[in-house]
């Protein structure tokens, strides 16, 4: 694999029983690229991302991240892979028993940070998302937008080299959505590879970036937006 390629997919197929979700996807994403993945609901965007962070295994084909083959990776090696990624989940995936701050420090501790350093970084990340005043709240007490921002703060807190975001602005108002995109652009500018799955066309128009259009399980378009 060439040195600059961070994500490479080869003949990627994913099917649930007889229903084919992804059909023979070939793709590579260079280090430092900002890429949108779009398509109608049910096009397979979320499945595409889940295959990248190995929450699912492909039916056939290969998934390579940072030079390592993911689809054949053992469970033991998965934590290390996932710690290299910042994943922003569509359903937030916050730990309900932990406060907003703890949700972030919890992840930072897996990166080997001391408790104090993890708390400092978590606070800074929350501050960047304008959530420092909610640091002691439990996720159930947060609004949809606040949960979304907490999930984003968690994903960005440890400055990952690859960011995968699944509908990151789905619960945010236009102003916060623009702020988030600006933040992702900053992080991308610093060298991180960003892949954002969205069905929001206004988001695609906000940033000139490579756009992949997924339709019926295949990449229908790969280029700048609008086509």
């Amino acid at each position: 694999m060439p040195a600059g390629i961070v994500i490479r997919l080869r003949e990627l197929h994913k099917a649930y029983d007889t229903r084919e979700i992804l059909r023979g996807i070939n793709l590579h994403i260079e280090a430092g690229e900002f890429v949108f993945l779009t398509g109608p609901s049910g096009a397979g965007k979320s499945t595409f991302l889940r295959l990248l962070y190995a929450a699912e295994r492909p039916t056939s084909g290969e998934v390579w991240i940072g030079g390592r083959r993911v689809d054949t990776m053992t469970r033991k090696d998965l934590p290390e892979l996932r710690r290299q990624m910042g994943i922003i989940f569509q359903d937030f995936k916050l730990l309900r028993r932990k406060t907003v701050l703890e949700n972030i420090t919890f992840v930072l501790r897996f990166h080997g940070l001391s408790s104090r350093e993890a708390q400092r970084r978590a606070y800074l990340s929350l501050k960047r998302m304008g959530l420092q005043h909610r640091q002691s709240a439990l996720p159930d007490a947060l609004s949809g937008g606040e949960k979304q921002r907490t999930a984003i703060a968690r994903a960005l807190a440890y400055q990952p080299r690859v960011i995968l975001a699944d509908e990151p602005t789905g619960n945010l108002d236009a102003e916060l959505a623009a702020e988030l995109m600006s933040l992702l652009c900053d992080i991308n500018y610093q060298g991180a590879t960003v892949l954002v799955a969205t069905h929001d066309h206004s988001l695609l128009e906000s940033i000139p970036a490579r756009t992949l259009v997924l339709h019926r399980g295949a990449i229908q378009y790969d280029g700048s937006w609008p086509p």
Binding site: Y53, R82, R96, F106, V107, S115
Partner: protein, 284 residues
């Protein structure tokens, strides 16, 4: 990682303190019974014959048999029962042996009348009941003694030890199953959290640690309860032995230590297997 496990385990314990305590008590019962079995086993060993695989039965022969006939009889019986060891009790020991049969005639027998005493043959046999069949032999006056306190203790000891051992094994298996089921239920109760932890890069050790720490705490509590329960039961047995005039039994110090170790290690092993099996499931 250890600090993380302890902190998470504290949260789990706070949430499920009562159930945890009930589980510890359920685990303590078989381990306490196991401790009692070991204690009774070590106390009753001389009686139940674990140390000596054979039991001594005495056979009283007819007094009219001369030494030649007695030797021939002993030879004949030994030939038919190769696993028995027969020995004629020497005349100087006869009075002491027979005084067990006829305690009220002890004075008469020890008063220089040894030549009048009937011959006695000592039989060491693994199955004393087989020896009692010799009573049908016309050369035999009686076989025994068969109803001593020692025999009663021997039989009771065997039954109690076997019963307790069986009960302990069944209860222990039930408790281990309980620990495994509890771990499974807790894992499924926290399935979402575990999934999230894995998705954000938590290692298996970080995911399993809190559950194992909780099991360790519950096992330690169960071990202490079991050791305490065994001490109480030992105290009762000691009282009973004192009343019956039997040798005073003592609890070996390694028994409570073993109980605490088992109470921690057995459910830990059970939980380890449950967690390992769970990690094979694709919850992501």
């Amino acid at each position: 990682m250890i600090r993380h496990s302890i902190s998470e385990a504290t949260g789990l314990l706070r949430q499920r303190a009562l159930i945890g305590l009930a589980l510890a008590a359920a685990l303590a019962v078989p381990i306490a019974l196991g401790g009692l079995t070991l204690f009774l086993g070590s106390w009753l060993r001389p009686y139940v014959g674990h140390g000596q695989p054979t039991v001594i039965v005495e056979v009283l022969l007819r007094p009219e048999l001369d030494p030649g006939e007695r030797s021939a009889w002993i030879h004949d019986v030994a030939e038919h029962h190769p696993d028995w060891k027969l020995r004629e009790v020497p005349p100087q020991d006869l009075a002491a042996r027979l005084s067990r049969w006829f305690p009220y005639l002890q004075g008469l027998m020890q008063n220089g009348n040894e030549e009048l005493l009937p011959p006695l043959v000592e039989v060491r046999a693994p199955e004393p009941d087989q020896v009692t069949l010799l009573a049908r032999d016309p050369k035999v006056l009686a076989v025994g003694p068969t109803t001593s306190l020692r025999r009663a203790v021997e039989r009771a000891g065997r039954r109690i030890a076997a019963g307790l051992l069986g009960l302990t094994v069944v209860l222990l298996l039930a408790s281990l199953l309980l620990a495994a089921v509890w771990t499974h239920l807790e894992i499924y109760r926290h399935a979402d959290e575990i999934t999230i932890q894995r998705l954000v890069g938590a290692t298996e050790a970080a995911v399993r640690g809190p559950f194992l720490a909780v099991i360790c705490v519950m096992g330690a509590v169960a071990g202490l309860l079991a050791a305490g329960g065994t001490l109480l039961m030992v105290h009762e047995v000691q009282d009973m032995a004192r009343t019956l005039g039997l040798p005073q039994p003592r609890l070996a110090p390694w028994i409570p230590v073993l109980q605490i170790m088992l109470a921690v290690l057995l459910p830990l092993g059970s939980a380890w297997i449950a967690l390992a099996r769970h990690s094979e499931l694709n919850l992501d």
